[in-house]
């Protein structure tokens, strides 16, 4: 029985490591490589921590298995009588604390880049692309109106008459930093873009800027990650990253649809506008 239980405590960490190692093959892993560079840096941090943690995990579990095996097979009449070792205590306090301190300090700049406004790319900070307002249970999106050349105006904090609106469908251009003003109408929500590794709570009464620089075209999921009521799970929207021209065209189509007077077909209006 001793052997069985020692094996048990040695076997399970091995199983855990093996399981983790094969998980990416089964797609039980990140939903694809990050779409933003910042997300890539988050992934890198994740892998760095994963390495440290795996080492610690294996080290401690092996040590645990080993001492269990030794102690349960001990032939000595008496256990080793010791109350501890000062030197060991110092070693195993100092070594982890160095590692931990390094970890803590090493990540500061990614965080600063993501959240501290003075680190935001200037061009994004001054020209938010859209305002996203969360409410039970949808995402309302407001783009600034377009000027006579079809170029987006500046986004005002307060709604303007010529603003463009959509729901659950956020289009952004690729290749340049995009800033979004995040708001909430009712309760807290959270703006979660798993493929971009971005998450930020929307807090009623606050306007929180988020920026990201998408580097891959495509449709990505936008989910809500803060419990906001029974429909929390169904606050599903999509983020569509497209080329600048497509994006501009999209905004124009939006304007056309919004100005549609009910007579011409919408696409006809769009054509007329172009």
């Amino acid at each position: 029985m001793r052997k069985f239980w020692c094996g048990f405590f040695i076997f399970w960490p091995i199983a855990a490591v093996v399981y983790s190692a094969v998980s990416p093959q089964f797609n039980w892993w990140f939903p694809g490589p990050s779409v933003t560079e910042l997300g890539q840096r988050i992934d890198n941090l994740f892998y760095l921590i994963l390495i440290i943690v795996t080492a610690v995990f294996i080290g401690t579990q092996v040590a645990l298995g080993y001492v269990l095996w030794r102690a349960s097979h001990s032939k000595a009449e008496r256990a080793w009588f010791t109350h501890g070792s000062h030197n060991l205590e110092v070693i195993w306090s100092v070594v982890p604390s160095v590692i931990l301190l390094f970890l803590a300090l090493y990540q500061m700049d990614v965080w600063a880049l993501f959240r501290v406004q003075s680190f935001f790319p200037k061009e994004a900070l001054n020209a938010p692309v859209a305002e996203v307002t969360a409410r039970q249970f949808e995402w309302r999106i407001r783009y600034p109106g377009l000027d006579e050349h079809g170029v987006p105006k500046k986004l005002h904090l307060k709604p303007q008459p010529d603003d463009l609106y959509t729901v659950n469908d956020l289009h952004v251009p690729i290749g340049r930093p995009v800033m979004i003003n995040l708001r909430s109408d009712d309760v807290q929500h959270s703006f979660f873009l798993p493929h971009l590794r971005i998450k930020q709570d929307a807090v009623p009464g606050q306007i929180i800027p988020i920026w990201f620089k998408p580097e891959r075209q495509g449709n990505f999921d936008l989910a809500c990650a803060e419990l906001c009521g029974w429909g929390h799970y169904k606050m599903r929207a999509q983020l569509i990253v497209e080329r600048e021209v497509e994006f501009q065209a999209y905004l124009q189509k939006l304007r056309a649809d919004q100005n549609y007077d009910g007579h011409a077909t919408p696409s006809a209006v769009a054509k007329k506008d172009e």
Binding site: Q117, L157, R183, G205, Q206, I207, P209
Partner: protein
């Protein structure tokens, strides 16, 4: 269960009481006399702290207790000061734009009215 220290020198409770009354008067005076706001705040809060210390030391006999009082009161004191301090950067100040439509509009509107009133040289309405 009579503790041994109940026969210490009788502190002059009446004196402490008088001091507390004086402190109270000072804080009321601080309100009556027109002081700059910051000065007033600092003044009344320090007076309150003095009063609190008087009550703690003499009325609550802490002056006559042994060292346990430090062990017992230090954590609470630190936490009691720390909690509001820790809330400051988030609730007392705002990193992000606060948006309170009703109030913002109204505050602006009041501001306008005040300016208008000054302009016309008449008393503020209300």
């Amino acid at each position: 269960m009579h503790d041994d220290h109940s026969h210490h020198e009788h502190p002059k409770y009446a004196l402490i009481f008088a001091a507390l009354c004086v402190f109270t008067l000072i804080s009321i005076m601080a309100d009556v006399v027109q002081l700059p706001y910051a000065v007033k705040v600092v003044a009344v809060l320090s007076v309150a702290t003095c009063k609190a210390l008087c009550v703690l030391a003499w009325f609550m006999h802490l002056k006559f207790e042994r060292a346990w009082k430090y062990v017992l009161l230090a954590p609470t004191t630190i936490l009691a000061l720390g909690l509001p301090l820790a809330l400051m950067p988030d609730v007392g100040e705002h990193y992000y734009t606060q948006e309170v439509p009703q109030m913002d509009d109204y505050a602006e509107h009041l501001e306008h009215r005040k300016h208008a009133a000054e302009h016309h040289g008449e008393a503020e309405p209300e």
